[in-house]
């Protein structure tokens, strides 16, 4: 791998930038791999990278139907945080945030990770109670969450001029989560892809998985793709939102349903908001990107949805809520909108698990999977390599559903 540094930039400048290597190779599709990962998104690429780095498994192919990093890793709101409720969830997300902190150096790729804090704007007492409960539990696991009074909240976010005493839902408090931050989503996908490729892993774009080959015991022996059949004994499905599109045909019964989460982006403006602002009572949140665009996230479409745009009603509700709190934004133009299809489990917690089919692993149910990419990849790679779950994901196996032993999570995004 050609390392990126100030020195390499200067040296390539001297030759007119003609000698940069391709960021990853495009090898022909092989006949047999030790592990096949379906989906070159954040989780698939991170899993490939950690398989090579931590377990020396490099005969791995990552198969992607579209282009690398073009799915939900490009369709989120880049928020990274660990303010969850459950003893099972918090250590997992704390690990993920800590991996993000060192990731730019480790991957030699600037992820533009900025640990800028997330501040919740609280407008109802039930919400305040719920968040304080999360705070106490997070204290036990080393994640920070602190109550702010309204004056301090408005000092930290000067643009927050709405939600005064005469509004319908006046602001009653704030909560600051100092571990939270943002990172550049494309860089996460490209950084992991480049580092995985450098360790010998093959990335195959425009290679759609159309079916699976099974052996006598029902075990996985290969995958059928649009470019031919590939033999393998281990397949990991990392196709957030569309997991059941692949697994229903195998006879697996997964408790997942797909929804569509709303997001849109404004035109760029001067620096205005330097934290991630979350407004859980109004079902929206926003942050400002390094380019100056306001990245705004909203709630979910009514009903099951595989749509990639956003719903008019949800969009209108989100805009209304944002303007109620930030009236100064009302003349901003919006540039882009998108919906991320996510499949959520019955208890809103992720699934990183073996399945009833020997050799088939799933990583699904990511409701806010961007923040989970490093820890999700690390733990899924551990599961594939050892055929035993990493301690951080033991609670997130499919077995929990057999006895309705849910990990009910309320720390997910606006719902």
């Amino acid at each position: 791998m050609q390392r990126y540094s100030l020195f390499s930039l200067a040296r390539n400048a001297l030759t007119g930038h003609r000698d940069w290597q391709a960021v990853w190779r495009s090898p022909p599709l092989g006949k047999r791999y030790d592990v096949v990962i379906v989906g070159a998104g954040g989780h698939g690429l991170a899993t490939a990278y950690y398989l090579a780095r931590n377990h020396d498994i490099t005969r791995v192919a990552v198969l992607e139907r579209g282009w690398l990093g073009g799915g939900n890793v490009a369709r989120n709101t880049v928020t990274i945080r660990s303010n969850y409720l459950r003893d099972e969830s918090i250590p997992f997300y704390v690990k993920s945030v800590s991996l993000y902190r060192d990731l730019s150096r480790e991957l030699n790729f600037n992820l533009m990770f900025s640990q800028r804090s997330m501040i919740d704007v609280v407008q109802t007492y039930p919400r305040l109670r719920d968040i304080k409960r999360r705070m106490l539990n997070m204290d036990l696991h080393g994640a920070s969450y602190e109550v702010l009074d309204v004056d301090e909240l408005r000092r930290r976010i000067p643009a927050l001029t709405g939600g005064g005493p005469r509004s319908r839902l006046p602001i009653i408090a704030g909560m600051a989560h100092r571990n939270a931050g943002v990172a550049r989503h494309d860089a996460v996908a490209w950084g992991y892809a480049r580092a995985a490729d450098a360790r010998g892993i093959e990335l195959h774009q425009h290679t759609e998985v159309t079916g699976f080959e099974r052996g006598g015991r029902g075990e996985i022996t290969g995958v059928q793709t649009s470019r031919g059949t590939v033999q393998t004994n281990k397949v990991a499905i990392c196709v957030s939102g569309h997991t059941r599109t692949l697994t229903d045909g195998l006879g697996l019964r997964l408790p997942l349903q797909s929804f569509n989460l709303t997001a849109f982006v404004s035109e760029p403006v001067k620096p205005l908001i330097d934290v991630v602002v979350n407004m859980p009572d109004s079902h929206c949140y926003l942050s400002q990107s390094d380019k100056g665009e306001l990245v705004i996230g909203g709630g979910v479409d009514p009903g099951i949805s595989f749509r990639r745009g956003i719903k008019e009603g949800v969009f209108e509700d989100t805009v209304t809520a944002v303007l109620e709190m930030f009236p100064a934004l009302q003349r901003l133009k919006l540039l882009r909108q998108w919906g991320g299809t996510l499949d959520t489990a019955s208890d809103s917690s992720p699934i990183v698990s073996r399945t009833d089919i020997p050799g088939l692993y799933v990583s699904a149910g990511w409701w806010g999977g961007f923040k989970a990419i490093p820890a999700g990849g690390l733990t899924l790679a551990h599961l594939i390599a050892n055929d035993a779950p990493h301690p951080l994901i033991e609670p997130f196996s499919l077995n929990r559903f057999r006895s309705l032993d849910f990990v009910l999570e309320t720390g997910t995004t606006a719902r």
């Binding site: 059941r244 599109t245 229903d248 019964r253 997964l254 408790p255 997942l256 349903q257 797909s258 479409d301 009514p302 009903g303 099951i304 949805s305 595989f306 749509r307 719903k311 008019e312 009603g313 499949d343 019955s346 559903f401 057999r402 006895s403 309705l404």
Partner: protein, 84 residues
Amino acid sequence: MLLIPCPWCGARDEKEFENGGPARVPRPDPTAMTDEAWVDYLLIRPSHPGALRERWWHVHGCGQWFELWRDTVTHDFLDAPDER
């Protein structure tokens, strides 16, 4: 899906409605089946791109529950399969 055709009130704004999830099969008797089948009934709901039969509640209108077919990709309402 900006207007939802309520069988009693006609086409009304979607904000008057709550989505009740996919239409369910009749509730089986949990004592007359295995635990696995009961958990399967509780947890496994339809979720696929394309036509889906769903329940809707006209909560800010007539208050009735009814069922409609909808395409989960385009969000267009569809005729029932036997009328298509």
